[in-house]
Amino acid sequence: MKSVIKGNSAVAHGVRLARAQVIAAYPITPQTSIIEDLASFVAQGQLRATFVKVESEHSALAACIGAASAGARVFTATSAQGLALMHELIHWAAGARLPIVLADVNRAMAPGWSIWTDQNDTLSQRDTGWMQVYCASSQEVLDSVVQAYKVSEKVLLPTMIVLDAFFLSHTHEVVDIPEQELVDRFLPPLDLPLKLDIQRPGAFGNLVFPDRYMEFRYKIELAHREALEVWRQVDEEWGRLTGRSYGLVDSYKVEDADTVLLTAGTPASTARVAVDRLREEGLAVGVVRLRVFRPFPGADLARVLAGRRRVVVLDRNCSYGHHGIFHQETKSALYDLPERRRPQLVGVIAGLGGRDITAGDIAAILRKASHGELAPVSWWNVLQPEEELEAAVACK
């Protein structure tokens, strides 16, 4: 049934439809209304789940790890400092191979204190073994939550569903909420092969000596490799049921493009408007959206981008001392292309701390790039330190 709901509600409906059994979370803006909606579903009997109120995000994920270890389908949600506080257990969840689904509403890290969007909170968890999916619409948010349970439970890895603060979390739009019966057909009840079971006593999370630790880690890597194909299949299966699928990378007007913008999250949606505008001006531009970031679909990216003249990677994040994270990762994906097929790559950092990225910004970036006027790496729409000082003085 189609409804007008916000991105956070789309998460909650996805979790409800997936029949999560244990939810543990701690409130933090801009995530809070996800768990408020879920608490309401549980209170009204629309979702048969145990809602565990905890005193911190660290405890929230600990509760999820405990419940998942006992074989329950679990969910938690957080943002920014909350995700950072979970960090120790983020590693634990992946290492223990628990199919936990977590929604993170991208929020910039403090200080300076911010409640607005950027991707550094989730990208700081890149190397923990979690899968990560970056969404560009509330519909995709709901669909991805349901898909994530199926993929996670197949490959035994946790998934982080990522949505932009406010541009998705608090924006109401039309979302088709699937029927329970449809989701039940897609997603069977969880039956973990190994779990805490008093009939079959076992030990979990033990000391592992150097003769075995590496093998455990290697299996995480193998699971990620398998997960690329599983995401593809699960997304296609969802597409057959609902008519909606997204791919690992999502491209728009790229086939004949000279210059391509690559980004993740909602700017990729706005970029389509900019691309249409520039196409009317006669510029051959397109956009590629990186949806599944871990496992990394490097081969898909290379295939889509091979032969393009130029790729501009727009990062709403920064690895300080180096550059945008998607920029680095895209570069690594393209390195193995033969030189004549390898696009020139430029990186732009924009929109940190929720600074708006408009269609006008993206059109200007693409126009500059098309004319070869963008530096290899740059920050968009940012004051230089001396200008910032002047602006501060002018304010007084």
């Binding site: 189609k2 409640i115 541009f167 924006t171 949606s269 706005t270 269609a359």
Partner: protein, 192 residues
């Protein structure tokens, strides 16, 4: 695409107004977006909410800088200069104010269609909120429907019933009354 900005004070229901409007437009088969100003709201402080509608899926996901119209839930935002309500407003766009004054009294706002409706009075008459803090958002939406034709009164009434948990019929009646009581000064005559 239609774009609207709603100015109000925290607690007046600007955000809920944008959500009800989105629901009404959705009922007519439009694609919609409704979102609050992305900040921390405080009761009584100036706030804004936004609304987009289109006949095709809305891909733009950024804030609204050049609205087709603005709605002002509290005229003191204008008279006290607390919000620049016409900022970015397209020429020939509209300003709809909750005010007991005539639209001519706001002609100074510029070359825009100016409309007024005494939504506070209507709200109080329908026992919505209190005399000092009337809930005006449903009434002003009735006036907006009459002014713009973006949504029908029927769809608006349905959206109000769906959205408003308390006194839904009083809210519907307030919207209906405001629909018939909006005073309009067309753009051509405004600004003189």
């Amino acid at each position: 695409m239609r774009e609207l900005r709603i100015h109000g004070r925290g607690g007046q229901g600007a955000v809920i107004a944008s959500e009800i409007l989105a629901e009404a437009a959705f009922l007519a088969g439009h694609y919609v977006q409704a979102f609050p100003s992305f900040g921390s709201e405080r009761r009584g402080a100036p706030v804004a909410a936004f609304f987009r509608m289109d006949d095709k899926p809305i891909l733009v996901r950024s804030e609204i800088y050049e609205p087709d119209g603005v709605v002002v839930l509290d005229e003191s935002l204008v008279t006290l200069g607390l919000a620049n309500v016409t900022q970015g407003l397209r020429e020939g766009g509209f300003v709809l104010l909750n005010s007991g004054k005539k639209p001519e009294d706001f002609a100074f706002l510029g070359p825009f269609t100016v409309a007024t409706v005494d939504a506070s009075r209507i709200a109080v008459d329908h026992r919505l909120g209190t005399l000092t803090a009337p809930i005006v958002n449903t009434a002003i939406l009735g006036a907006l429907a009459a002014l713009t034709g973006w949504v029908s009164l029927e769809h608006l009434e349905e959206a109000i019933r769906h959205h408003v948990p308390v006194k839904p019929e009083e809210n519907v009646a307030a919207a209906r009354m405001a629909f018939h009581r909006v005073n309009v000064l067309e753009a051509a005559r405004a600004g003189r």
